[in-house]
C-alpha cells in the first residue's frame, strides 16, 4: 500500500467531525461517511485517524470499511461511472452495458483507469427502473443505455 501524507486542513476537518459526534464509537459509520466525503475515499491513514479519535482498534475500523460496499479505499475517477445492476436493469440488458464499459476502459468493476479519469462500479437499483438500463456518470443519469451507446457516453467526457 502506497503511503500518503494527508493534508492537515482535511485532517482537522475530520477531527471536528469526530468531535461533533462526541467521539462516540457507535457513530463510526456516520464518521466514515463524513471522512469519505472529505477525502473522497478512505485510505489507511484516514482510517487510522478515525480509529484514534474514536478510540477503537484500527482492525475494527478496517473490518467495518471492508464490510460496507459504499466505502472505498480506492480513489474514485474524475468521472465515476455506475451501472445499475438492479433486477429491472439486469433483465433489460445491464450486464452487456457493464461489459462494454469494462472492455472499452479496460478496468474491472471497482477500479479506476490509470489516468484517474474514469472509475467503474456497479450498484443496485437507483430507483429509475422505468429508464432501465440505467447508467450514472457523476450526477448525470443516462437511461435506456444500449451497449452501442457506451462509447458515445464516454466520448462526452474525453
Amino acid at each position: 500500500m502506497a503511503e500518503i501524507k494527508l493534508a492537515e486542513s482535511k485532517v482537522q476537518e475530520l477531527k471536528e467531525v469526530c468531535k461533533k459526534f462526541d467521539y462516540d464509537k457507535g457513530e463510526l459509520i456516520n464518521v466514515l461517511h463524513a471522512a469519505q466525503e472529505i477525502f473522497g475515499y478512505l485510505p489507511a491513514e484516514v482510517q487510522e485517524i478515525v480509529a484514534d479519535e474514536l478510540n477503537v482498534n484500527i482492525a475494527h475500523v478496517y473490518g467495518v470499511v471492508t464490510f460496507y460496499s459504499f466505502f472505498t479505499m480506492i480513489p474514485k475517477g474524475e468521472h465515476p461511472i455506475s451501472i445499475c445492476m438492479g433486477t429491472a436493469c439486469y433483465v433489460r440488458g445491464a450486464e452487456k452495458v457493464l461489459d462494454e464499459f469494462k472492455r472499452l476502459l479496460d478496468v474491472k468493476v471497482g477500479e479506476t483507469t490509470p489516468d484517474g479519469k474514469f472509475s467503474v462500479s456497479s450498484l443496485r437499483c437507483v430507483g429509475a427502473c422505468g429508464l432501465a438500463p440505467v447508467v450514472t456518470v457523476g450526477e448525470k443519469v443516462y437511461g435506456r443505455v444500449a451497449p452501442e451507446g457506451v462509447k458515445d457516453i464516454l466520448a462526452e467526457y474525453n
Binding site: 461517511h33 467495518v64 422505468g130 451497449p147
Partner: protein, 597 residues
C-alpha cells in the same frame, strides 16, 4: 393548497428527476412568470406518481390532466395552452395501448384503476418539503388523536385489530410486535425505521420517504407513544440522497411545528427522530444486522432470540418496522381498524406497494389491495408484456423470493399464498420476465447478488451460496450433469434449513422455485446442452444466414469487437472465436439474417 387556483404537480421521484425533472420545474416556473400567473398558479415538485414508464409526469390540478413523457421544452406550451387557453396538450396525453384512445384523467387509466393508495396516499399529491400540505391532508391528526384520546394499549389494540403485517418481508403482525415491546419493562426504548431498502429493483420505501416523509415521522411518534419510547432512529441507505434530504427537511419542520420534540401537543410526551446511514449492505435489512450497524459495527446478524423487542439497540427494547409499514399507521388510526381490515384477504389485510419492473409495458410503483391476482397486476395495471412477447414468469420477493409462472397467475396475492407457492412477499419487488429470459440465468443473477451480499458470518450462507452460484454457472455453461441437479437441490434445502439469518434462510428460493417451475429448462441445459431462451452464451453461436444477408454492412459496423467480416453487398460471416455474443448485430440487422444456434 387552497390559495392558488391551479397547481401543476411535477413528479420529483428519482426516475423522473433523472429525466430532466428539475429543468421541467424550472421551465414551468419561468413560463408561469412569463405569463404573470405567479399569484394564481403554483408549480409543486411532488413525490413519485408511480407511473415511471411514462415519466416524467406532470399533473394539472384541479382537472387532473395527466401529461406523460414531458420534456423541459414542453413547459411553455403547457402553460400557454392548458392554463391560458384552457386546451389540453393532446400530444402529451396518455394513449391507451388497447384502444389507442387518449386518456386525460389518471383515474381512467388502466394503470391506476385497480390501485388503492393508502401507503402512497400523498405521494404525487403534496409537496413533500412542505409540512402544511401534509397537515392539510389530515397529517399529524392521528398522532394528536392517539396522544390525547387513547392509552398506548388502546392504540395498539387498533393496530392489532387492523391486521397490519410487517411490509418489510417477514409479515410479522405489527400490533403484536408493538405489544411485545410495550410489555418489556425498561426506562429506555427505541423506535427504529428500517429504510435500508436493498432489494435490487425495488424502490417502494424510497418513494414514500421522498414523497411523503411526514407520514413515517408521524407513525414513528405514534409507535413511540405505544411502546413507551422517546427516541426514533431512521436507518436509511446512503445511496438515497434525495430521501435523506427530504427527511431532514421534514424532521426540521416537524420540530418547528411541535409534533416532534418535547411535550408534544402539551401531553408531556417527548419524541424525536435522528438519521443513521447505511453503507451498502443488503443484510442490514435484517433487524439485528441493522442494529449492529447502527452501533458502528459490521452489519452481521445475531441469532434470535433475543429479539430486538427485548434486547435491541444499545441492549434496550427496540421496535423495528419498515417504511411502508409505518406509512400505513396514521391512516389506520384515523379510519379505524375495521376500515383497514375490510381490504385484503383473511390473513393479509390492507394493501401492498410493489415496484413493477422488467419486461412489462407499465413499469412503475403500484399499490394494490391484498388478494389481487398476479394476472390483474401484470396485465391490467402493468399493461402486459413488452413488445408483444409471451409472459414467462414473475419474480417476487427479490433475492429471497421465487419465480411464479403462468399457472400461478390467478392466485390471490398475499403473504401466505406466495410462501405456499415457493415465493414470498418480500419488500415488494415484482419483476416480470418474458420468453427471452433464461430461468437458470435468472436464478444465477439472484445468487450472484446473494453471494456478494452474504455477510460471511455463517458457513452455509458464506460458502453454500457461493457453491450454489458456481453450480448454476456450470449449468449455464453446459458442463453440469444430472447428479449435479440433485446436489443442487439438497444444497439449497440445507442452506435454507441451517443459515443464521433471513438472508441465508431464503437465498436458495430463486434456485429452488425455478427448479420446481422450470424443471425442463434445467434439464435442457444439463441433458441437451441447450438454453431454450437462447441466453446462455456458452450454449449458443450467432450465425449469419448467407441466403438472407444482403451485405448492408450494418452488423459489421456495430460489432464492438470486429468479429464480422464481408464485403459490401456480399454475405457476411461471424468469426465465432472473436465474437463476444453481445447480440448487437442481431438487434441491428434489418433482414433477420442473424440467428442464434
Amino acid at each position: 393548497m387552497a390559495k392558488y387556483n391551479s397547481h401543476i404537480l411535477v413528479c420529483g421521484g428519482t426516475g423522473c428527476r433523472a429525466s430532466q425533472g428539475e429543468e421541467i420545474v424550472e421551465n414551468l416556473k419561468q413560463a408561469v412568470s412569463d405569463n404573470s400567473l405567479e399569484s394564481e398558479i403554483q408549480v409543486v415538485r411532488t413525490g413519485c406518481f408511480g407511473f415511471c414508464e411514462k415519466g416524467p409526469i406532470v399533473k394539472m390540478i384541479p382537472d387532473n390532466t395527466f401529461y406523460t413523457q414531458v420534456t423541459p421544452e414542453d413547459a411553455g406550451e403547457i402553460i400557454s395552452e392548458h392554463i391560458v387557453k384552457g386546451r389540453k396538450v393532446e400530444r402529451l396525453l396518455y394513449t391507451d395501448p388497447e384502444n389507442k384512445e387518449q386518456i386525460a384523467d389518471s383515474k381512467d387509466m388502466g394503470f391506476y384503476k385497480k390501485q388503492i393508495r393508502i401507503a402512497l396516499r400523498n405521494c404525487g399529491f403534496i409537496n413533500p418539503e412542505n409540512v402544511d400540505e401534509y397537515v392539510a391532508r389530515d397529517g399529524y391528526s392521528a398522532l394528536g388523536k392517539v396522544l390525547t384520546e387513547m392509552t398506548p394499549e388502546e392504540a395498539i389494540k387498533i393496530i392489532k385489530e387492523s391486521g397490519l403485517r410487517g411490509r418489510g418481508g417477514g409479515g410479522f403482525p405489527t400490533g403484536l410486535k408493538w405489544e411485545i415491546t410495550n410489555q418489556v419493562e425498561n426506562e429506555e426504548k427505541y423506535v427504529v425505521c428500517n429504510a435500508d431498502e436493498g432489494d435490487p429493483g425495488a424502490f417502494m420505501d424510497r418513494s414514500i420517504l421522498e414523497g411523503d416523509p411526514h407520514s413515517v415521522l408521524e407513525a414513528m411518534a405514534i409507535c413511540g407513544y405505544c411502546i413507551g419510547g422517546s427516541h426514533g432512529l431512521i436507518y436509511i441507505r446512503a445511496e438515497y440522497p434525495l430521501a435523506i434530504e427530504r427527511l431532514k427537511i421534514a424532521i426540521e419542520q416537524a420540530r418547528n411545528l411541535g409534533v416532534l420534540g418535547k411535550n408534544i401537543f402539551g401531553t408531556g410526551f417527548d419524541f424525536d427522530v435522528e438519521l443513521r446511514y447505511g453503507a451498502g449492505a443488503f443484510v442490514c435489512g435484517e433487524e439485528t444486522s441493522l442494529i449492529n450497524s447502527m452501533e458502528g459495527l459490521r452489519g452481521e446478524p445475531n441469532v434470535k432470540p433475543p429479539f430486538p423487542s427485548v434486547s435491541g439497540y444499545k441492549g434496550k427494547p427496540t421496535n423495528v418496522n419498515n417504511v411502508e409499514t409505518f406509512a400505513n399507521i396514521p391512516v389506520i388510526i384515523n379510519n379505524g381498524a375495521e376500515w383497514f381490515s375490510a381490504i385484503g384477504t383473511e390473513k393479509s389485510k390492507g394493501t401492498k406497494v410493489f415496484a413493477l419492473a422488467g419486461k412489462i409495458n407499465n413499469v412503475g410503483l403500484i399499490e394494490v389491495p391484498m388478494g389481487i391476482t398476479l394476472r390483474e397486476v401484470i396485465f391490467d395495471i402493468g399493461g402486459g408484456i413488452k413488445d408483444g412477447k409471451k409472459f414467462k414468469a414473475v419474480q417476487t420477493g427479490g433475492p429471497s423470493g421465487g419465480c411464479l409462472t403462468e399457472k400461478h397467475l390467478d392466485i390471490p396475492i398475499d403473504y401466505d399464498n406466495l410462501i405456499a407457492h415457493g415465493s414470498m412477499m418480500g419488500s415488494g419487488g415484482m419483476i416480470v420476465m418474458d420468453e427471452d429470459d433464461c430461468m437458470v440465468s435468472v436464478a444465477k443473477f439472484y445468487l450472484d447478488f446473494t453471494v456478494e451480499e452474504s455477510c460471511g458470518k455463517c458457513a452455509p450462507c458464506r460458502v453454500g451460496n457461493k457453491r450454489l452460484y458456481e453450480m448454476l454457472d456450470k449449468i449455464t455453461q453446459g458442463k453440469a450433469n444430472k447428479e449435479d441437479l440433485s446436489i443442487l437441490r439438497n444444497l439449497g434445502n440445507v442452506i435454507k434449513d441451517t443459515s443464521l439469518c433471513g438472508l441465508g434462510q431464503t437465498s436458495p428460493n430463486p434456485v429452488l422455485s425455478t427448479m420446481d417451475n422450470f424443471a425442463d429448462e434445467y434439464e435442457a441445459h444439463v441433458k441437451d446442452g441447450k438454453c431454450p431462451a437462447g441466453q446462455c452464451k456458452d450454449l449458443m453461436e450467432y450465425v449469419i444466414s448467407a441466403e438472407t444477408c444482403v451485405g448492408c454492412t450494418l452488423c459489421s459496423r456495430v460489432c464492438p469487437v470486429d468479429a464480422i467480416s464481408g464485403d459490401k453487398k456480399q454475405a457476411h460471416v461471424i468469426d465465432t472465436v472473436t465474437c463476444i455474443k453481445c447480440g448487437a448485430c442481431m438487434e441491428k440487422c434489418k433482414f433477420n439474417a442473424i440467428s442464434i444456434q
